[in-house]
């Protein structure tokens, strides 16, 4: 794991929603999925994932059910709710516009100022 960026505050929820939107996952699976879709560029403090998962569940954006994991143990699987799907769409849109604006601002040259 080289050249990893610590994720921005507030973006963890967005990443979790994105990861879970791709299919049912248990907690550790969410972590692996985020690493996988970011090409290993984003590093999350592992335990911090759980309070975020519970917060999203508390808000009704994701739901959980118990199932069996790959090591044949009981595991809690998370999936996106309808409200979560809506929220993800909104956050992705606002994130993209913010990222665009910052990129534009950073690429400004002296004569434009």
């Amino acid at each position: 794991m080289t050249d990893q960026a610590n994720i921005l505050p507030g973006t963890l929820d967005l990443l979790i929603l994105k990861a879970v939107s791709l299919g049912k996952l248990h907690g550790y699976g969410v972590l692996l999925r985020i690493e996988q879709i970011s090409g290993g560029a984003l590093q999350i403090q592992q335990g911090a994932l759980y309070p975020a998962l519970y917060r999203l569940e508390h808000k009704g954006l994701i739901q959980s059910e118990w199932g069996t994991s790959e090591n044949n143990r009981r595991a809690k699987y998370y999936s996106l709710t309808k409200a979560g799907r809506r929220q993800l769409g909104e956050e992705v849109a606002s994130w993209n516009s913010l990222a665009d604006a910052i990129a534009r601002a950073l690429s400004a040259r002296p004569q434009e100022g």
């Binding site: 592992q46 335990g47 759980y50 309070p51 519970y54 917060r55 508390h58 009704g60 954006l61």
Partner: protein
Amino acid sequence: MGVLARFRSLLRGLLRRSDVESEVQEEFRQHIELRAADLMRDGMSPDEARRRAHVEFGHAEGLRDEARASRGLKWFDGLHFSWLDVKLGLRMLRRYPGMTVTAGLALAFAIGVGASTFEIITQVVSPRLPLDEGDRVVRVSVRYGQDGRIEPETLADFAMWRDQVQSIKLGAYIESYRTLVGGQTAGDPVLVAETTASAFSIARVPPLLGRPLIPADEEPGAPPVAVIGYDLWRSRFAGDSTVVGRNIVLGGTRTIVGVMPDGFGFPIWHAAWMPLRVSELASDPARAPGAEVFGRLAAGATVEEAQAELATVGLRTASAVPGRSFRNAGVDRYALGITSIISGTSSGVAVLLALSTNLLPLALLALICANVALLVFARTVAREGEIVVRTALGATRRRIVTQLFTEALVLGTLAAVLGLAVAGVGVGWTFDVMWGEILEDFPLPFWFHGGLSGPTVVYAGVLGVLAAVVAGVVPALKVTGGIGGRLKETSAGGGGVKLGGAWTAVIVVQVAVSVVVPAVTLALVRGGERVTPALPFPVEEYVGAALDFDPLLAGEVRADAGAAELAARYGAARAELERRLLVDPEVSGVTFSRRLPLQYHPWNQIEVDGGAIEPPDERGHRVGVVAIEPDYFEVLGVPLLVGRGFTLTEAESGAQVAIVNQPFVENVLGGGSPIGRHVRILANEDAREPRFDRPWYEIVGVAPSLGTRSGYGFGGIYVPSGPEPASPTYIVAHVRGDAPAFGPRLQELALDVDQALTLTGVMTLDRTTESDERFSAFWIRIATAVSVLALSLSLAGIYSVFSFTVARRTREIGIRVALGADAKSVVASVFARPLFQVVLGGVLGGIATYGLGTVGEFSLSSAVGVLAYVALTLAICLLACVVPARRALRIEPSEALRAE
């Protein structure tokens, strides 16, 4: 966002704390195991891998705390909310059963009223269509203009749009009342929707039995069929499961092909459905009837798209009729709120007004909470010793207040549960009663229902918590205030706690309310009794019904006949019906009148020549007026008291003669003989402006009181019905045998005479006032519940205050008795203040009752009556002082000095 989800998650976190905690534990462990397994696959030793996985995971204890915080549970942890407090609360409820029952029932009543109101207002203001994706079902309207008039769409327009509009699946219906023959019992004409079969696919509700209407039913020449609703199936066919395939008469003979499930009334409140033969009815656009159009948005279509497309199509169809122009197209929510039904608009003001209705139950709850707080306060003072000791042992004030709050919360929760049970019954009941009274002409739209929605349950929960805050925290803060100071004192005899002015006010208001409310209830009950006086003939042997005449019902879509022709046809039909009834062996007499005995009679303002007694107000005397046939009194078997009846000639020519009744003679003329005097009608409910050019009627007879109820007593005038039989009119048949069972026979005879004759409200005359009685019974029940509540709270409150006084002054009483004072005089002086409060409340209540009696129509306006009544109420209130007084008298000085 997700209020319900949060509430559920919070509740689970609070009620199943250990489950939630162990799940978190398990999840953490599972994570660490999986991570360790991954690290071992990368070549690490098992021990090293486990250690590394733990380190990467972070500090589990801290994360567990964070997990609780993210579920919103941190705040509750701060309260040290524990099961022990809940158990203690339950024990307290058991220990003081009297208080538990009184306070619990009072809170349950207030929460029940609050939750019912909330549910009803929510349903009424923003109704939800109880259909699959009900929010995609819409009302469709297209308005056209012609010669400056705005005219709605007709079936011919609908037939054109149906094929052209893509974004909405459309349907149309025409409604009418039709008599149904073929069931096991008679009933009123039923509201039928002649509808396109698409109504059923749009509603997406499968039938309970048989099949819904299908497009093939709409084809010309298809066999005539009908689908009936659940209520009709239960009431007319006794829920017979073999009803499909049976033939009935409903706008012609047709076969029942299906029964819809309970609660289904789409389009609005329809009880039966027949296929709408669009192509047949729309074949000539100039004669096509108007229709209501509805639809379901196609998948993915928005309201805006549908509206735009409809406007395009509307423009196109407008050009099909010369001289017609397109005005506008609308696609609206289907389930209209009541504000829109009544006022035609969904104005913000109307909605706000409706929503503000919720404030009344909240005020009631506040009042009841104040009373319960008083009870809790008095009880808490008795536990002061315990509180002081716990404080000395290091309990913080917050801890003690939390515990007392939890105790109140247990009571509040039980009350909320009970209140919700009451509300569940109350909502359906209120809809039934109120709807019938407010909107007499409309049945209840099917989207209003008696159940409770999620938000209402949450609302009741919030009310329960609020009640607990007022009834638990306020007294707790008062008792625990300054407890540090009392720790320094040697005793904890309650000396430091006093009932303040606010509590005094509560008691005084309480007693006043408990004097006024039962008085109002009493007046209501007596008013209710006045509705149904006994009549001097056997009402249960007579069958009455409203007799209407409507060519539309005979399946004649348009009535082209002139008024005179219709009147002649109606007269002939009525005469034929009378003839057939009279040859029926079961019938001993038939007559017609414009109102039935004991029905509500619209008032008429009248004038009598030669003067009458002083009228009750500036509007003069008002009485009921009924047009009758000459044989009316004879058929009812009631002889006139004085004078004569109408002759046949007078009836046919509509002569200006009148028969007045006994209450008229007493209340208008003040007694004496009215024969030969004259009376005339100046104004009535529809034309309120008095006109003095009306004809005088000569009074020729006096009848006994036969229930001419006009809201202004029972004064009434009978006049001859005149040459033209007016429609509507009431038919009255005297039946020899089983009168209630004669109803269906009467329906059949009428239909057999002329398909356009309809009978509504077929019932024996003893049931005429049923709906009024139900309405007044509704209010009487509520008023009685409030009275019982007010009185019992009052008694409990007074009892608590007196007990509190004795508890607080035990030492004083003991010492004074030890010093030689007479026990009785000591008790009198101790109780002087609370007694004064009770008497003051009683006096205020008496004044208010007397005031209401003079303003309202109460029978309680006599000062002596009120005084006696107040004395009685006070006596009941003072009963509450007996036990504490006896306790005070039994205090032994030695005991008192040892106390605490």
